[in-house]
Structure formats: C-alpha cells, structure tokens
C-alpha cells in the first residue's frame, strides 16, 4: 500500500547559545536522519525519552518547525517544497493534538470559537453551518452543545483534551499527529481519551502518528512502533514483533521497564544506567554505546546501519549485521 505520510532523512539542527551576533553557537542535533512511513488508516507509535526529538519530528511533519534537511511527503506530495499559500491549503488534511491540555486552548476564546477557528480560516462552511458543526463535534467527543459558550478554564484536563480533539477534527483531516495526548492526564482519564481516539479512527478512517514516552500506552493504540534515541530511530517494527522480540538493547530496556500488574511474574532484567547524553555533542558511532550493556568496539567507531530483519522490522544496531538475523 502506498504510504500516506513518508519521511526521508528528516533532520533538525538547532543553533543554541552564543554571542549577540551568532558567534560561538553550538549545534543541537535534535533530530538526525529520521525516515519512516505511515500507511493510511494505520497508527504509528513513536516512543523515546524526554528530549530524544520525538516532538520535533511530529512538529516537522506539519511544518510547525522547518526541517534542516530531508523530505516530508504527504499523499505523494513533498510538503517542504510547497509555497506558503499551498501549504496553508494542505493543512486541512493534517492536524495535531497537543500534550498540555492547559496550554493548547486560548484562554480568551469560547470553546465554540476555538473549534470554529479552523473552519473560519479555510472558509469551508458559512457562519451558521460552522456553529452547527462545532456543536456536532462537541457531541462527538463526548461534550454537550451548551459547553460551546464556556471558556477553557471551566473544564478539566480530560475535557480540554476532548476539546483539542474536536478542534483537530474540524476540517475532516486524514492524518493527526497526537503529541503525547494523554501524558498530562490522570490514568483513569487516559483510557477514555485513548478509546475516543480509537473510535474516531475506526469511524473516520484516520491515520495517526502517536507520540508518547510510555510504552504501555503506545502498545494499546499502535499498529507499528518506532523507538527513538537521541535524535535517531533505533528500531521500528510491527507492534507484536517489537514487544515480543525487541531487537535493539535500548528497546529491550524500555520494555523491561514497563510496570506490570503481575508483581511476581518473572521478568528479564535489562537495566540501563546513566543519563541520556547531550544532543549538543552526541557520542561517536552508535549513539547508545555509552549506556549499552552489549557494547562492542565497533559501536564506538561506526554508526550502525539500518538492517531489515523479518517482516519490515528494522533495527540500527551492530548486534544484527545486515542479512544475518533474518530468523532472530
């Protein structure tokens, strides 16, 4: 199937610090040569520690941050080459749901105005139909029509997240970046929001990029999962394969760290120690080598190539030389 979203060599370097005229700045490699594709109707989970660049990837897909290098194709069209007016037109098809339900809604606007704004910008409906649509969207995400007259501060975190989802749906997009949509919510509310997102996906045929730092949440909603470490994707594969047989030592450690409901269950220990290195000066060779339990001399020198193992399961690690572990 042709992918809906295809990303090639996506890279973002920020310049930080330095003097008043740009002297002495250093390069922060937030995202370095990231490639993946998302098929229509699919959910790709994107996980990694704080600061690994996953949010930057999500924002670059929507050109909320301009990439330094690489291509972002949406439905076969390179978004990065589009002039501003064309890009604005394409934004109808792609929306975003944010992490912080407090910061994502303008405190000075009513809920109805917030949900109507994308419709007003694109002029897809007249004023009367836009109001009706806002009411329908509120109902669809589990709120009442009357809530439209209120202001964001009158709602709880979970309700605000529903409002944010209603706004993202206003233009009938095909693709939504969910940027840690449940990380700021209580556990009991998390499940409700996840279920809502899944229902909407089934109903509207949506495609998601679901960003999270919590493997448990991602496991529930994703079809495939990509694991990021320090600006790079280290492993990407089908959810079942990735969870039952994680290949990259970092993925193994993350999965071992997911808390389980069975306290006595035997668990493989794969503890990693230390802190994530600075993206200002990433380690040479494999970026994970400073914390990897299986580190080999080659890891300190050469960056591992991406290797495909069984069934679209990709990993970037020297433990899996090209073609060597097809049956792993």
């Amino acid at each position: 199937m042709t992918p809906l979203v295809r990303v090639e060599g996506l890279t973002k370097h920020f310049w930080v610090g330095g003097g008043p005229f740009g002297t002495g700045q250093s390069r922060l490699r937030a995202v370095d040569d990231v490639s993946f594709a998302v098929a229509p109707g699919e959910t790709l989970g994107l996980v990694g520690e704080s600061g690994c660049g996953k949010t930057t990837v999500g924002r670059m897909l929507l050109r909320l941050i301009e990439p330094t290098k690489g291509t972002v194709e949406f439905d076969g069209e390179d978004l990065l080459r589009l002039p501003p007016d064309k890009m604005r037109e394409r934004r109808r098809n792609m929306q975003i749901v944010f992490q912080d339900p407090y910061g994502a809604l303008n405190p000075r606007m009513t809920i109805e105005d917030i949900i109507k704004e994308p419709i007003e910008i694109h002029g897809t409906l007249n004023a009367k139909d836009a109001r009706r649509r806002a009411g329908e969207l509120l109902a669809r995400v589990g709120l009442a029509h009357e809530h439209g007259r209120r202001y964001p501060h009158e709602f709880s975190g979970g309700q605000r997240q529903r409002i944010g989802i209603a706004r993202a749906l206003a233009l009938n997009p095909r693709f939504i970046v969910c940027d840690e949509p449940v990380s700021a919510l209580d556990v009991s509310i998390q499940a409700q929001i996840i279920n809502l997102l899944q229902d909407l996906q089934d109903e509207l045929g949506l495609t998601y990029l679901f960003i999270a730092h919590d493997l448990g949440v991602v496991k529930h909603i994703s079809d495939r999962v990509a694991v990021m470490y320090l600006g790079k994707i280290v492993e990407i594969g089908d959810k079942r394969a990735l969870y039952s047989q994680p290949l990259h030592p970092y993925t193994q450690a993350l999965i071992a760290a997911v808390p389980e409901a069975k306290p006595r269950a035997e668990r493989r220990k794969a503890v990693i120690s230390g802190e994530i290195p600075s993206a200002l000066n990433p380690p040479k060779g494999c970026r994970f080598h400073t914390r990897c339990p299986h580190v080999m001399p080659i890891c300190r020198e050469t960056e591992p190539p991406v290797t495909e193992t069984a069934g679209r399961h990709l990993v970037a690690c020297h433990l899996y030389p090209a073609g060597g572990v097809a049956a792993a």
Binding site: L64, E89, Q95, F98, Y102, R108, H153
Partner: protein, 300 residues
C-alpha cells in the same frame, strides 16, 4: 520628581497572563475587592471631577489678575489662597489639572497603540527583534527626563510637542514590556494550533497573541499615566511646558518657588495635587497588577 521616574527604566519582565484567566466580570469583581485599587480609583475620580468641573468649582478665571488681593493665604473666600498676581490658586490648580490629565491621556493612548505595535512585531517576528530592540535600547539609554527635555527643547513649547516628547521617551519602555509577554505567548500551544490550522500572521497576532499579552500592558499604562503627569510637571517647572500664563502644575510651582517663605501655599498646593494624582495612579496600577498579573505580587 525625577527620581521616581527612574523606576520605569528597570521595567519588570512581566510574564504573560496565566492560562485559566477568568472572565471580564470576575476580574472587575476582584478589582473592586482590592482595597488600594478602590482607594486609588476614588482619588483619581476626584482629580478627574476637579478637572472636568473646573468652571463650576471655580467661577473665577484662572488668569484674572487682582493686584489688591496678592499673596492671600487660604481662606473661605480664596480656598487655596492667591498668588503673586492675586490670581485664584483654586482656579489655577483645577485648570492645570485639565492640562495634566489631557497630556497624560494622550501619552497613554499613543503608547498603547505604538508601544503595543512595536513590541508585538518585535516579539512575534524574531528577525525584526534585534534591530528594533537595539534602537529601543539606544533611546532607553538616556534618562527619561533628560531625553524629554532635549526633545521638548528641540521641538519648541506647545502642548502637542510636549505629548510627542513624552511619547518618544516612553514608547520604547512600553514596547519592551509588550515584547516580553508576546515572546511568552507566541510559544503557547494554542498559537501552534492556529498555525497548524492554517492561520496567517495577522490572525494569530490579533486573536491569539495580543489578547493574551494585554495584562502587563494594562498595568504598565496605569503607571505610565503617572509618569507622564510627573514628567510633564517637571518640564513645565523647568520652563519647557505650556507658556505662562496658561496654568500648569509645573509652572505654578516654578513661579511660587520665589515666594516659598512668604506664601508657601503657592507651591504646596499644586505639589499636593501632583502627589495625590501620582499616588492614585500608582495604587490603581498596584491593584491591576495584583489582579491581572498575580505572579508579580510582592509578598507582604
């Protein structure tokens, strides 16, 4: 007089409004409950009423000479006494209030428009920021009163020139405050959401950024009114304001200075009017700051 103006130079970096801002009605109620705001509002209302009803308060013309009634101390006939030409001090002070408030209002309005515009553009379009802010810094490097004296001296004596001089001095200070809150607001996720929805710069500024960076500006403008009134008085005290015999608080005090021993009321009464006006505005500003920008509140 000039010392208190310097406070503005170290303009506080007021953060943008916290999310979860209450509705307008709620803000009004909390302001009313704020004791010093209420007191300041009352005082300021008295000053405004004095200026507005000047002809009724004092039927005597402010420039009517009465050589037989010179240097009369305050009494029932002449509530605030008379000056060296026998003019009614009451009339001169209330008519002077008109000019002070008019100039203050004009400076505040001009600052609200241009300060907000320059600050918003510098804070939003970061390519402009460095250039605009360096020009700002250059203007702010001069002490406020000194710069106002310079500009007023170059332009010549007139009320519009006075307003222009005060605006030139204070717009960079207002712009800086607006800029800092715009920088905070522009990275809020609701601004990102608007970009993702396809909103243009103008819409983002007007609907998302400006309404959410107004709180520090409102606080600033109430203090600015006080500074404008003070600086105007300073300039006209130094002989750069409205030409005598037009009464201003500053030039009444300048004339009265010579007779300070024999007739202290000539200088004391406009001085008191000035002090009361500035205090009223400062109390108002404190109240606004506590309610609109609670994070700045000084712990007591």
């Amino acid at each position: 007089m000039a010392d208190s103006v310097a406070m503005l130079d170290g303009a506080p970096q007021i953060a943008a409004a916290a999310p979860g801002r209450s509705t307008r009605w709620d803000v009004a109620r909390r302001l009313w409950r704020h004791r010093s705001f209420r007191f300041g509002l009352g005082l300021f209302a008295i000053v405004i009423a004095a200026a507005a009803f000047a002809p009724w308060i004092s039927p005597i013309e402010p420039n009517k000479l009465a050589m037989r009634a010179r240097f009369l101390p305050p009494s029932w006939d002449h509530l605030f006494g008379t000056d060296n030409f026998g003019r009614s001090q009451l009339a001169r002070v209330v008519y002077g209030a008109q000019l002070s408030l008019m100039i203050g209002t004009a400076v505040v309005v001009i600052n609200a428009v241009f300060g907000a515009l320059i600050g918003a553009l510098a804070g939003y379009f970061r390519q402009l920021d460095n250039m605009v802010m360096r020009v700002n810094d250059a203007v702010m490097a001069f002490p406020a009163v000194l710069l106002a004296i310079g500009v007023a001296a170059v332009l010549g004596r007139s009320t519009p020139n006075m307003i222009l001089a005060l605006s030139v001095v204070y717009i960079p200070r207002t712009a800086r405050i607006v800029r800092s809150s715009v920088i905070v607001v522009r990275q809020m996720e609701y601004v990102q959401a608007a970009v993702a929805a396809g909103a243009g710069h103008w819409r983002i500024l007007r609907r998302h950024i400006l309404p959410n960076s107004m709180a520090p500006l409102m606080v600033q403008l109430s203090f600015l009114f006080a500074y404008a009134v003070l600086t105007e008085a300073t300039l006209s005290f130094l002989g750069l304001g409205a030409e005598p015999p037009t009464p201003t608080w500053g030039n009444i005090m300048a004339e009265g200075r010579q007779y300070m021993r024999e007739a202290p009321w000539i200088i004391a009464i406009p001085g008191a009017a000035l002090a009361i006006t500035v205090m009223a505005l400062n109390l108002l500003g404190d109240g606004l700051r506590d309610v609109l920008d609670p994070r700045l509140r000084v712990q007591q």
